[in-house]
């Protein structure tokens, strides 16, 4: 604890072992947090970003993620329990879920069971949106099911706490694209399940607005067949 007294918050964390997961955004290190099985989510410096931009982004996303997780919990959306926040080392410590699998794995392995979780995910997304939170990276990889069969949302690093209609639509857009790129066989049934859950929670009008928002985002993307120019027909 020598370093701890000198003000190094990471000294609270016992020496980090090898990461159990190395993602794009952060690495996860298992640790014991005063008796609680925990994970340290560390946003490590990226060599491809200018150091000052990198430091700014990592600190901002760490704080943002912690805030959004707290807000999600208040909105009635299960997230792993947050144990410690340190923007200086861009570290979050949170509870380690037992036997967690990603929804992406579940969709591939047990699409039947996955469908009800996707519906639940739609309900959670609606709760977030009603509480003025947009997740910002809502994919099948960012939803976990623990061994008791409870669904959790994770990875709030890109969340927005004052979302406009566009940010909310981005959630569905990203979810839909994670289906298209990772589970092309299950796009329709999972999309329907998600919307079923969403409208059950937020009402059909909100769901309709969300779908309309997605359509607008998709027309913004490059080379949409559907898009038409001001001159009428788009294709030659």
């Amino acid at each position: 604890m020598e370093a701890g007294r000198r003000g190094n918050p990471l000294a609270l964390i016992p020496r980090l072992s090898r990461p159990v997961y190395r993602g794009a955004e952060a690495s996860l290190y298992p640790l014991d947090w005063f008796g609680v099985p925990a994970l340290a989510k560390v946003r490590e410096p990226k060599p491809y970003r200018h150091p000052s931009l990198d430091a700014r982004l990592r600190a901002a996303r760490t704080i943002n993620e912690a805030r959004a997780m707290a807000a999600a919990l208040h909105a009635g959306v299960p997230v792993p329990m947050l144990l410690h926040v340190d923007p200086y080392t861009a570290t979050l410590v949170m509870e380690r879920l037992r036997g967690a699998r990603t929804l992406a794995e579940l969709v591939e392995e047990e699409p039947g069971a996955a469908r009800s979780y996707v519906e639940q995910l739609g309900r959670y997304a609606a709760r977030l949106h009603q509480s003025s939170i947009a997740h910002g990276d809502l994919t099948t990889s960012n939803a976990l099911v623990d061994e008791r069969g409870r669904l959790y949302l994770i990875d709030f690093g890109l969340a927005t706490l004052k979302p406009g209609p566009r940010d909310r639509a981005v959630d569905l857009h990203l979810f839909l694209r994670s289906l298209e790129s990772t589970h092309p066989e299950h796009v329709e049934e999972m999309y329907e399940a998600f919307l079923r859950g969403y409208s059950a929670e937020a009402g059909e009008e909100a769901a309709r607005r969300l779908v309309e928002g997605v359509r607008e985002i998709r027309l913004m993307g490059r080379y949409r067949e559907e898009r038409r120019t001001a001159w009428g027909g788009g294709e030659a």
Binding site: K46, P47, T182, R222, R224, E225, E235, A236
Partner: protein, 365 residues
């Protein structure tokens, strides 16, 4: 400005690569030659690909450069009409073949600028019909990926494709190149070019192989604080462009202006590499391929390499002639598609300005 790439100038990587091994599912046929025609944007290119080493026999291109402003589609098309016969003639000559030795004609039917696309399509349809050659439709974005795979000898890469008109992260999954992320508004090359033009740094956009924004940025240490927008696996650059131009107009002195260039570059490149990293972490591909015109940037390459090494992936990119638009990539992809049985009736070979790569089935993979 005719640029010619000949087999003698190819890097060693392509020579050591066995193309049939990159396409284990494809029944490889020896002795095939395909002529490819590219005209999707401001480059008119023609190339000849062979199913035997060295695979690329010729690549000739001529790029339209406006004296001021950006690319006007009509002007680009007029340029293509002017240079097409000479570029194709020289490609055949470089390859040491005549049109009669060619087994099929491949053409990029999209995505791209309508008037420019129609020049290539018209020429290709004409050649195919007149000489009785099969016509092979090629998606320009897919062609960037396939030529990149050949030059880096990659079997299954995560791809970051960055050019004037495109910014996307793609990887092959379940019969197609799937788009994992892309720009929600303008492309990375467009960001750099528009900024350079409106800031009065361009044209010319590239000086001595380096983009003028890269040049301007090299004079700064600390980047100006500008918006950095990543949404999931997507990027957005329009806010960055607006903010950078505003900061440029407000800036006083060369030092502040260089800081704006550096901020623009760092945020622009950083966001693209970040979404590529997300794609790489998500797909767990062992290789990472950087391609498209912006892949010529040494700064971007270094960042891309650094990102890939974080995930134990091998990073690679084709040489600039083949990273940018060229005819050889159309010929090469056309060759693969032709071997897999893909052809189109000239009467049905219409251009598709918004033809997405994930709309293309890839029976050669």
């Amino acid at each position: 400005m005719v640029s010619v790439a000949t087999p003698s100038s190819f890097p060693p990587s392509i020579r050591g690569c066995s193309a049939p091994r990159l396409y284990p599912g494809l029944r490889w046929r020896s002795g095939l030659r395909v002529l490819g025609i590219e005209s999707t944007a401001h480059t008119f290119g023609a190339g000849v690909a062979s199913s035997d080493p060295p695979y690329i026999l010729a690549s000739v291109k001529d790029t339209y450069q406006p004296r001021e402003g950006g690319i006007h589609p009509r002007e680009a098309a007029a340029h293509h009409v002017r240079v097409a016969p000479e570029v194709i003639r020289r490609a055949l000559e470089e390859a040491g073949v005549t049109i009669r030795d060619i087994d099929a004609v491949a053409v990029a039917l999209g995505p791209g600028l309508g008037p420019a696309l129609r020049v290539g399509a018209t020429v290709a349809r004409g050649l195919a019909a007149y000489y009785g050659k099969p016509l092979v439709p090629v998606n320009h974005a897919v062609a960037h990926i396939e030529i990149g795979r050949l030059f880096t000898c990659s079997a299954d890469p995560l791809v970051l494709y960055v050019s004037g008109g495109n910014t996307m992260v793609a990887a092959h999954a379940k019969g197609r190149y799937r788009v994992f992320g892309e720009t929600l508004d303008i492309a990375l090359g467009n960001l750099l070019d528009t900024f350079a033009r409106d800031a009065g740094l361009a044209p010319p956009y590239v000086v001595g192989g380096l983009h003028v924004v890269d040049r301007c940025a090299s004079r700064a240490e600390e980047p100006a604080e500008l918006p950095y927008t990543v949404k999931g696996m997507d990027v957005s650059y329009s806010g960055l462009l607006t903010a950078a131009l505003r900061a440029w107009r407000r800036s006083r002195g060369a030092e502040e202006r260089a800081a704006v260039c550096l901020g623009l570059r760092e945020n622009g490149y950083g966001a693209a590499v970040e979404v590529a990293e997300r794609g790489l972490a998500h797909t767990r591909k062992p290789e990472a391929l950087l391609t498209g015109g912006v892949a010529a940037s040494p700064v971007l390459r270094e960042k891309f390499q650094g990102m890939a090494s974080l995930h134990g992936a091998r990073a690679g990119w084709p040489p600039p002639h083949f990273a940018g638009d060229n005819g050889a990539m159309i010929a090469w992809t056309g060759l693969l598609a032709y071997m897999a049985g893909v052809t189109v009736d000239p009467e049905e070979a219409v251009v598709r300005q918004r033809w997405r790569p994930d709309a293309v089935e890839t029976p050669w993979l």
